[in-house]
Amino acid sequence: MLYIYLAIVLFLLVFIVWNMIQEKNVLLQIDAALVVVPLVLRLLLIK
């Protein structure tokens, strides 16, 4: 079950990063970047 949840996190992460790259408004890019941080930390099982 852990790996399923990690896969969900990875799935979300990929889409957010993709969205962030495509986004032209820098404020929204920063917004997305903020969301990326906890997802990365959870993917790496740091937090």
Partner: protein, 242 residues
Amino acid sequence: MKKKFAALLALALVASVALTACGGGSAPAASTPAAGPTGTNGGTMPGTSQAVGDASINTNSDYTFRTSDSNRVVTENGTFTKDNVPGPVLVTSVGQSADVSMLDALMKKVGAADYTFNSTAAADEMANYGTIIIACGASSKGLGAAGISQEDELARAQAIVDAVKDSDATVIVAHLGGASRRGALSDQFNNMMLPCADYIMVVEDGNDDGLFTDAATDNGVPITLIYSIADAVTPLTELFGA
């Protein structure tokens, strides 16, 4: 643009909720279930400025505390001696609080010999004893541990009252749980047992409304007020000590 922004915000919210929800929980502060009993044998803090005797925590302004840190055992309304406690001796409880276990420990501490400890002794056993010490105080956990319902314990207490009131047995009512052991159910037991007491022993901070001293006065029986539960060693040594 607005749709993208809204979608991103929604995604952020989902991610945050998913991660913070997993990271915490409604962890209760206490490590035992919330439903608790009426309290335990609250001994007072020794050597503290807010201990028993301090009027600022006296809930009944008419009552004057007799005991203090320097005067830990006070007996009123006459004397009660070893001659008043013929054997055999029974230690029992009404209300099944942990105070009866503390009383048992106290009896062992003073070297009392030949007493029977039975917290759930039935009324028909009372006739076998010359002295019956009853630790009054209710505890839902104690009742649960003993496998007795409140109603059954009240019935048992009433049956004990009926058994002892016309007998020659000496009845000692002990309330050792202090203020934290007072409450509606505990007081039901107290009010049932006090009229048949020949002697009362009480941790004084459980008497801040004068319940026990008034009962002693009304019934003309001696009462020993003690500062903390540990001070029960003094009267118990006099009565039952080796």
